[in-house]
Amino acid sequence: MASDGRRRGHWVRPSRSASNASYNGFVGDTALVLVVVTALAFDFTNGFHDTANAMAASIATKALRPKAAVAMAASLNLVGAFLSLSVAATIASGLVNTHLITLPVVFAGLAGGIAWNLATWYLGIPSSSSHALIGGVIGSTLAAAGTDAVKWHGLVQKVVIPAALSPLIAVLIAAVGTFVIFRISRGVRQETRDRGLRLGQVGAASMMSLAHGTNDAQKTMGIITLALITNGSLAAGSKAPTWVIMACAVALALGTSCGGWRIIRTLGKGLVTIEPPQGLAADSSSAATILLSSHFGYSLSTTHVASGSILGSGLGSRDGRIRWDVARRMVTAWLLTLPAAGLVGAGSYAAVHGIGGTAGVAVGFVVVVAGAGVLFGLSRRSPVSHRDLHEEPNGPATAETAAARSVAETPVAA
């Protein structure tokens, strides 16, 4: 990372220069740099893992071209990350006793989150990035400080129960929305209907991207701030410094702009057949649920809400085909996210702690980078790109062409 030096320059206290920094201070700073880079790497995986949540439906209904959708999601993520800053409370507070957190614990938690995010991305399964991070941090805290360090009540109340309820709420709203939209638009010429609904869908998807930016960038901001506090670079209770906000916003947006095509394919084409009425219903349901729940302090996973909405849009239409095997695979992944990321987090902590100090974190960092490299290499064997999203010989592409032709032939009224 070329900008590491610049970033370090921001958090080293002005009075302390490199020449008189103590050896211990240097060691702490090196570990901190690695933790911050890992946190930004997690933010990046969060971005490309979750592009699908906001854009899969718009791409499926051709409301937006794949690349335009991803670019729009990335810019709105960036804007969203700057819009809402006060919530940047650490994701860990309320879930673990934060005074027991050390840099290796934070690092191991992030490693768990990244590992799960990359594995599910490789398999094309939409799973919650927040759960991956929470699972990782809880796993590493358990390994470091035992069961007393985890606030189990908080975990069940803030994470487990909302995770079970949020997809159901989204399914309900999207199913009702789809039903009503189909009902009202009956009798409207299909191409007129689809053109209008696509426009509405772009609006709903934009709101969703904006909400995603405000929610997800903050999680990493919270983790980095926690690391800075742990290291003594920031006073306890401090807000995220400006460079943290900027770095997190950029990392999330960069991740989003890469486009997690594997997951977009699953959500946009694998789960249900999405037509413009379903697309508008799904995206409106997701945007409304996420915004409302953050307003009422109910932390929901964007992924669970988005997947639930898409599923609901399939249930709400009479001829909606739902591929239940895909849905089952997805729900299994949701159930596994917390424990699996927790296991990796705990294992990482054991390894990092076993080696000890900065060397431990450095070795862990190398392992994470190597693991990511291996998965990326594997993914190249069966690459999925934006070109793979619209190539269906008998699918919507032909319907689209037919619709375009009939639009061209129909004289436009007014």
């Binding site: 006060s86 709420i169 929305g177 009503v180 409207v188 405000t214 915004l291 007014a414």
Partner: protein
Amino acid sequence: MTSWIDLDALWKIVVIGLLCGAGLPAVFTLGLRTLSRSERRAAAVTPVPDAVGLTGGTSTRVQAARAGAEMVVAGLCFAVVLAAIGWGVAFIVSHG
């Protein structure tokens, strides 16, 4: 039970969520429907000046007025949706 589930927040999310998440797209679709109907009506009654110079008969004028009213209703529907989006953005900003 309520210490585990925030029932108060939950029912609000479900009810307001249905109003905004399903209701707004419904209003938007209603706007589309009335707009499309208005356009079809207007196209059907394209005024053809008769010999006296008046455009159309009574029924044509009524149809044209209906088309105009439908246009207004459609505009109202879209305005409601736009206002809700504006509120949403304002909400995100003020929440920060």
